[in-house]
């Protein structure tokens, strides 16, 4: 199945279409944020804790910065972290899984062992420790999420490689004297590529939730603007007791929508490339 036909197949499914539309919507918001935001979200443009009004459609935060502008700008960092972390962990996981599955032997056992150790360690607490240790910042958050997300990918890729390896055509080309690298790039990689895409898409959502949770717990960089950080400030400065639902509901809803978008897109891709694959997770 060609690349283009796959895309068309994915978009023909209701899941794929819904996911795609949601994601396009938020991606355009992220790109257009400077043009569509009513204010600069770093400038103080009103009284702190203003309620929604025509001037500030979602009110203002504890500094008097416009919440709607924060929300629109927040899409940038939230999406960016999600995508970068997901891509990074898919790449690492794929490399480890490929090597383990393909080379086999002691190599496989060592890599599987490392993967198992990581899978066993409690994810969120470990992320907390790492981020405290490294100090807040874009790089830290991405790294911390990546470190905790690659092992499941590695495990899945390894299983895929093993099953492909056992298929006849690989055996055959090996018999014909094809080198290891040749087999890897010619037969294994093309076969797992669609799976990797599906995994990466699903991973973005998870990474975004991880970012939001870490930021919420105060381990993000609170001077930046992301949805998780907005919720952090809401929780820390009393938006609750103030009853400021206009501050608490929108960022969470945006996270939920985007993650949902990625999840349904990933689901559709999985369905297209292999209807029976889903049980593998």
């Amino acid at each position: 199945m060609g690349f283009l036909t796959t895309i068309i197949e994915v978009l023909r499914r209701p899941w794929g279409l819904i996911g795609f539309i949601i994601l396009m919507f938020f991606v355009s918001i992220a790109i257009l944020a400077p043009y569509i935001s009513p204010y600069n979200p770093w400038k103080i443009t009103g009284r702190p804790f203003s309620k929604p009004s025509p001037d500030h459609l979602l009110g203002t935060n504890d500094m008097g910065q416009d919440l709607l502008s924060e929300l629109l700008y927040g899409a940038r960092l939230s999406l960016m972290i999600g995508v970068v972390a997901a891509v990074a962990s898919t790449i690492i996981g794929t490399v480890v899984g490929l090597l383990a599955g393909f080379l086999g032997g002691v190599f496989d056992r060592t890599l599987t062992g490392i993967t198992d150790v990581f899978l066993l360690l409690p994810a969120l607490p470990l992320m907390l420790v790492l981020s405290v240790f490294m100090g807040p910042g874009f790089f830290t958050i991405v790294l911390v999420i990546t470190v905790m997300s690659w092992p499941p990918v590695a495990r899945m890729v390894r299983a895929q490689v093993l099953s492909i390896k056992n298929r006849l055509y690989v055996e055959a080309s090996r018999a014909l004297g094809a080198g290891g690298l040749h087999i890897m790039f010619r037969h294994v990689l093309p076969n797992i590529a669609p799976v990797m895409v599906a995994i990466a898409v699903l991973m973005v959502g998870e990474a975004m939730i991880a970012e939001a949770s870490l930021s919420f717990l105060g381990l993000g960089d609170p001077t930046k603007k992301s949805w998780g950080i907005m919720l952090h400030w809401a929780f820390r400065t009393g938006a609750f007791s103030f009853g400021a639902w206009w501050w608490i509901v929108p960022p969470g809803l945006c996270i939920a929508l985007v993650v949902f978008g990625f999840a349904s897109l990933g689901y559709a891709i999985e369905e297209v490339i292999n209807p029976r694959l889903r049980a593998g997770r």
Binding site: M63, T237, G238, S241
Partner: protein, 598 residues
Amino acid sequence: MENKIKMFMVLASILVLVLPIISPAIPIRAEEQEVYVLASLRSDLITMNPFMQTLIDESNVMELVYDTLFRQAPNGSFIPWLAESVDISENGTVWTFHIRRNVKWHDGTPLTAEDVAFTLNLIVEKRFPSRSNVFEAINRTELIDDYTVRVYLNYPYAAFAPALSFVYIVQKAKWENVEDPFTYSNFENPIGTGPFKWVERVAGDYVKLAANKDYWAGAPKIDGVIFKIYQSSDAAYMAVDKGEIDAMNNLFIPPHLISQAEEKVNANPALRLHFRKPVYFQYITCPLWKYPFSIKEFREALLYAINVSAIIDIVYNGHADPGSLGTMPPVFGEMPENWYKPGLEKEVLYPFNLDTAKSILDSLNFIDRDGDGIRETPNGTKLEFSMLASSIYPDRIRIAELVRDWWNEIGVKVNVDVLDHRTVVSTFLSHDFDLIVIGIWLSEPDDWYLILHSSGAVVNGFNTAEYKNSEVDALLEQQRAEVNIERRRQLLWEMQEKVAQDIPYLSLVHIHEAYMYRVDKVTGWVTSTIFPPGNFWSYLNLQPATPTTPATATTPATGTTPTEETAPAAGVPLEWIGVGVVAVIIIAVVAFIVLRRK
């Protein structure tokens, strides 16, 4: 097969129902008409060991369980408490304490001067870090008779009474058997002489105290106090509003919610609002040994470019006092001793003016030569600094952001780095940083010794600016030895003037804390500017709002049975462990490889 699924579901539901049973010991008691006052705590207690106390939350509980020789009265002065009276020698180095005669420990035995001497000696002998001001001052103690103890000091110490207000007197009979007073947590039945007895602590949730009916200063009229831990001030505020607890304590209303709280108080006669001005000093510190912070004019320019009124307005919603460059908080001016020298406020001496700041920088030849908006020093280094703020204080982060923007306008670039509190504190004490927004609690003027005296200008000292002025040093030493209040005030005022001239610290604000509390269950709160509503005097004075018939049933036994620490078995030699572990691992590896191959 369907049956199996049913069976499974039944088992699962039983599991759900059984789970509560294995949860912590269930207190089932008969209904009694008891009135407990509930107040919030900010964090779990780490210890009940009076010598290792560092948290305010711990001192809140300890000051009720233990008595001290002196206590701070609601007006801020320190009054003899467990000591009926004190004779101080002419030169101020010999203090003779006459201990009250009718004081009983919670186990019924009488307190004597021996307990007091034991406590002081233990501090001197063990040198507990958190009580350094006491062990450094005391030379030796002398037991005169059962109710008199004499303390010889190394130097005249004006702030000895305040220092003693944190020395919780412990029972000799109990503590002489404590093996290691450094690590003893003292959670199992801490015995004191205070107005409340220890009942229980549910780790991470609450601490419960019951009234000591035999308290020498009169039994409390309430049955006890419960401190409940809340994760945020917001949650504590909501809890008071909903009537879950009676008073906020240590957690205060977020400043922007105060007007909402005022509306609530106006609408609900059961609610009250209290403003406290803590002895708290919020400032930016920079190392004076580091160029260009070493140039006083540069610091002046920075001061001109800080809009303290805007900080008070935006971050604190108006509920703060502008900082004094003398570094002492204005609340000292409201106490009888009046340690505060007015007129040294930052806004009076260096009113916000970006143009003045710019011209000072110009005159220092700090000019933006490459046109990137950041000025350079004459030798070409950019005026770009990192400003640290701790992640647990939202106000400090916001202040850092505001200051960053103002300084940006005068061509000084600041990167705000928000780090976790511990990292910030250790960087602060390392004295190696550019700028830190920090706040510090100092309870008595003598504590300014820590941040201003040159002896603190060493790594891990609190004089993080490394400020050294021999005149200020001399004034600090003189005030420490000056027992006369008038003369001590003169010295402190003079010191504040000197400090304001040198500006070692960029003073920002002294915050006000707003607390909400309830009067529908209990009345008689003792409110004072320096205390939150839930303080020692309140708990001693509070009484049920509607008189109830005293419960005839005795209070349940406080018996949390002491659990024996199992001593580690000394029998197994270390080598054997090593051999055993290695053997197990080898066997595991071999078994894994061999069996897997088949």
